[in-house]
């Protein structure tokens, strides 16, 4: 007669108690395993979506970069060389550089043979109040493009303004009723209108262009300019830093900024589109993560509650079992069973019931989970089956039973056989 035989016979004898305990364990394991499998599935699905979105973002940006390279290379960029000491904040605020630099810098650039730069245009730019027209204007002194030695001449982007002539922006001429060829006075000097610009809706509407030499003379800045426009740089958008580096290497006391290029506008538009797509994906990621978090919170509340409820039930059942078996405990102690063995008897029973209840619980959980409607996803229900999680749940069952049975088992072990046998 081994203790195990005693255990199995008792299990069969008190079948209602055994079935209740098994059901409690099975149900608990079933619910926990189902919740856990769903959570694992959700984690896997979220991970999949995040990973796919990340790949898509990377793909979008890679494609964008490639397209940008191709597109911007064809379009070219416009950059402006300014004196190094020019404060850019002031430049952007005033629309011109207050500082100047030698005009021959443009020749240095032209002679250096920079292959990426297609057109070079030195200018002297000032904001002025046109006394005669009672209007603020942006004056640009231009001399036309500087030719590149040893290269085939390119068709110029801008024609030079002939000496003694002036080109007027729309706002400057529209209210005056001037026509091409009219003689007008600007800051005390006489000019013939060379061209009247149509309305553009930008700063060009308040700009007037005169020959560079005349502008330098007007402001006592002979031989000085305050910007060189390097137009249609044939390079990819991503290579613009190289152009900037190349230019500033040739002219160390200058700085280079990018301005009003179509490529830049296109790049920005595409960037915005890519950013919008990225934000959309990020929002989707966030939504997915929130759903996962909600399910994790639900599980982290539900599982302890279920465990607590089951443990209370199992503890109550074990207390009842101990009470019903007091006479047994008395006689077992009388025939020499130690307190430790009595403890082992009850804890062993609890752990065994835990193990026995765990198997059908897991089986039912897998069955229920496989039939459970899952959100649309390429993942199948099998993706929720994580061996580690299921193993932990399998261990949890006998552990819960053991913990729940501990107080009544200790109570059983501490029963005084003399009192029991005397009472009976």
């Amino acid at each position: 007669m081994k203790l195990s035989r005693l255990f199995w016979r008792e299990l069969k004898f008190r079948s209602l108690h055994s079935i209740l305990s098994l059901l409690a364990v099975s149900l608990t394991v079933g619910v926990i395993a189902t919740v856990q499998m769903r959570l694992e599935w959700r984690r896997a699905d979220t991970e999949r979506v995040l990973s796919e979105n990340k790949a898509e973002v990377e793909q979008v940006f890679a494609k964008l970069e490639d397209e940008m390279r191709k597109i911007t290379k064809a379009m070219g960029f416009n950059v402006m060389v300014l004196p190094a000491e020019q404060n850019l904040a002031d430049f952007y605020a005033n629309d011109f550089a207050a500082k100047t630099m030698p005009e021959n810098y443009v020749n240095t650039l032209a002679n250096a043979g920079i292959v990426t730069v297609q057109h070079l245009l030195p200018i002297l730019q000032k904001k002025v109040f046109w006394e005669e027209a009672k209007s603020t204007a942006l004056l640009i002194g231009v001399r036309g493009e500087v030719p590149f030695p040893d290269t085939v001449p390119k068709s110029p982007l801008l024609q030079p303004v002939p000496k003694g002539h002036i080109v007027l922006g729309y706002e400057l001429h529209a209210n005056q009723g001037w026509k091409q060829g009219d003689q007008i006075s600007f800051q005390g000097a006489e000019f013939t209108i060379h061209e009247l610009k149509p309305q553009k809706g930008n700063k060009d509407d308040i700009t007037l262009w005169i020959p560079l030499e005349q502008a330098q003379s007007m402001f006592d800045l002979e031989g000085e300019i305050n910007a060189i426009l390097a137009l249609q740089c044939k390079c990819a958008w991503a290579d613009i830093a190289k152009v900037r580096e190349e230019l500033t290497k040739l002219l160390p006391d200058t700085q280079v900024i990018e301005f009003s290029s179509r490529a830049l506008a296109r790049a920005e538009a595409r960037n915005q589109a890519a950013d919008a797509r990225k934000k959309g994906l990020e929002q989707e990621n966030l939504n997915r993560q929130q759903i996962l978090l909600r399910e994790e919170r639900f599980a982290s509340t539900l599982i302890p509650l279920i465990c607590l409820g089951t443990m209370s039930l199992l503890a109550a059942l074990t207390f009842v079992n101990v009470r019903d078996r007091k006479s047994e405990i008395g006689i077992l102690r009388a025939v020499g069973l130690s307190r430790a063995k009595v403890l082992q008897l009850f804890l062993g029973k609890a752990a065994s019931l835990g193990l026995l209840g765990m198997l059908p619980g897991l089986a039912v959980a897998v069955l229920v989970f496989s039939q459970l409607g899952l959100p649309e996803s390429p993942l199948s229900w099998q993706d929720g089956l994580k061996p580690l999680s299921l193993s932990l749940i399998a261990l949890l069952a006998p552990l819960l039973q053991g913990i729940a049975a501990w107080p009544p088992a200790v109570w059983a072990a501490n029963q005084d056989p003399a009192t029991i046998l005397h009472e009976d």
Partner: protein, 221 residues
């Protein structure tokens, strides 16, 4: 061999004043002794029996088995000693309801298996006239048969002494006689029987009859 030396035991029932169950009881029993103790309810008979059975530590005094103070041993050692040296028979039998007769007889094998246990258990069942019921559970046995199973269980571990608490209390005269015969036979074969009873006829079978009153043991003149 079993010496009870100046044993005292006091209880304090809840809400009541302390009760002295044993007041300096001394008794020495040797192999072959069949001792009986009679006395009114609450006189301390069962307390003495359980103390002698290594189940209840006295407040004062000693209980010695083969010269060893049994309450000087640890709980585990005492449990082991109980398995080897003591057999119990109770008025309520204390059989385990879901074990068959054979398993009930062999109950002490849970602690330490007896060599050729099943053969010995079967032999005891035959000796006590219950061999035809070996596979039956206690619920399927008559009261007399149950007490014989309890007696077989007590004898199974080849104890030095048997403690019997009202062993015939629930039995018809024939069954009672059979149980008493077996106890007497155990004593005749060198065992010690220490029986608590209300039954004068049962007490008359003892070779060493005692009475007990208010925690004091008296030897009849």
């Amino acid at each position: 061999m079993l010496n009870i030396v100046d044993v005292y035991k006091r209880y304090t029932p809840s809400g009541q004043s302390p009760v002295e169950a044993l007041r300096g009881v001394s008794l020495s029993l040797n192999p072959g002794d069949f001792a009986s103790i009679r006395g009114p309810s609450g006189c301390g008979k069962s307390t003495l029996l359980l103390s002698a059975g290594l189940l209840q530590r006295p407040d004062e005094g000693r209980i010695e088995l083969k010269g060893q103070d049994v309450y000087a041993l640890s709980r585990e050692e005492r449990a082991s000693l109980r398995r080897r040296e003591v057999g119990f028979v109770f008025q309520q039998f204390h059989l385990i309801p879901y074990l068959n007769l054979l398993d009930n007889i062999q109950l002490s094998d849970c602690v330490e298996p007896e060599e050729h246990g099943e053969e010995r258990a079967t032999a005891l069942a035959e000796q006590l006239g219950i061999a035809h019921r070996l596979q039956h559970t206690p619920g399927e046995l008559s009261v007399g048969e149950r007490q014989r199973v309890a007696l077989a269980r007590a004898l199974y571990g080849k104890p030095s002494y048997i403690l019997a608490d009202e062993p015939t209390g629930n039995l018809d005269p024939d069954s009672a006689k059979r149980v008493l015969d077996e106890l007497a036979q155990f004593a005749e074969h060198g065992g010690i029987v220490f029986m608590v009873t209300h039954d004068p006829e049962a007490a008359a079978r003892a070779t060493r009859p005692f009475t007990m009153n208010q925690g004091l043991l008296e030897t009849p003149a």
